[in-house]
Symmetry: C2
Subunit: 184 residues, 2 copies
């Protein structure tokens, strides 16, 4: 998991860095006094899906086998990687964490989690089979009807908000999203 | 500008790194043999706006005063920073590059530019005044009707696609976006 740790040394030459505002900039960056390298740190994207079994409207959650929030339930999601689109990353994470066969739908939620420097993007998806094969990051993958959602055991607020938007949209009989949400 | 440069030294202790696949991972990362630090590199978000003067439907472009694409026209946009939401970043970039007073609207385009590891997010915005004050990154800020857009002098394909979607939506009289576009 990429977590932000402050640069102490230059990634180019290994010298200790100074925190200064570069010329033509307005924020402190880790600057290398030896080679001049400027190191930026920016928010990261977490991409995932809300997989739906259309025959009965149940949704797929995974129970986490890793920290943080070991044992709690989450929508399949993870950090977007270089070399993929947001939708490709969401598909990959769903395959890796749930072993689920899905058809990707449109972007459903965009959630800003400023406190941790993350943007979460969830896509609607349709399950093509009921065969799941949870990867090493998941204890199990299971379908839930709205009344069965373990709201008290949801790992992350971004999952909770995305599920809430989905059930609200469906109950209202309106179109599904997209929704923009800022997590305090 | 954050550009991806391969880690050569550990950001924590300065030792030369090795590229290896960490346990429980499936991609090569820059790993430090001395302190164990794993360095991740992930796509970055570029956030911006499409500012519209509603009285006549003209849109605001900025002419770039910096490389790359010095002298060409772009929608106001730049790298999202830690401590802000996507919409706050888009507003900030519009103020910094155009000195424009805008009211933010909804997300309009999400463009994946896999080749450079970027996701571009453009928001619709409404101009509140015709006073612009281009910052050091812009030579000028100017309003354009659809027929006046300098299509051959647009700096980036993400700007071109976002403008194209906007004029298409408006001509069709349908709602505005959001549009998901992958740039080859
Ligand atoms: Zn250096
Ligand atoms: Zn180290």
């Amino acid at each position: 998991m990429p977590l932000f740790s402050r640069f102490k040394h230059c990634s180019n030459c290994g010298s200790p860095v100074d925190y200064r505002v570069p010329p033509d900039d307005n924020r402190e960056r880790a600057m290398c006094p030896a080679c001049g390298m400027v190191h930026y740190q920016n928010p990261l994207n977490v991409v995932g899906t809300l997989p739906v079994w259309e025959a009965d409207g149940r949704v797929l959650l995974c129970r986490r086998a890793i920290e943080p929030r070991h044992g709690l339930w989450t929508l399949p999601a993870g950090f977007m990687e270089l070399g993929e689109t947001t939708a490709e990353g969401a598909l990959r994470e769903t395959q890796e964490e749930a072993g689920a066969d899905i058809a990707m739908g449109p972007l459903f939620t965009l959630l800003n989690v400023v406190r941790v420097g993350q943007v979460h993007l969830f896509y609607l998806a349709t399950l093509r089979s009921l065969q799941f094969d949870p990867g090493p990051e998941s204890l199990e993958a299971q379908l839930f009807a709205e009344a069965e959602i373990p709201w008290e055991e949801i790992a992350f607020q971004t999952t909770r908000e995305t599920l809430r938007c989905f059930f609200d949209d469906r109950r209202a009989g309106r179109g599904f999203g997209p929704h923009a949400i800022d997590i305090a």
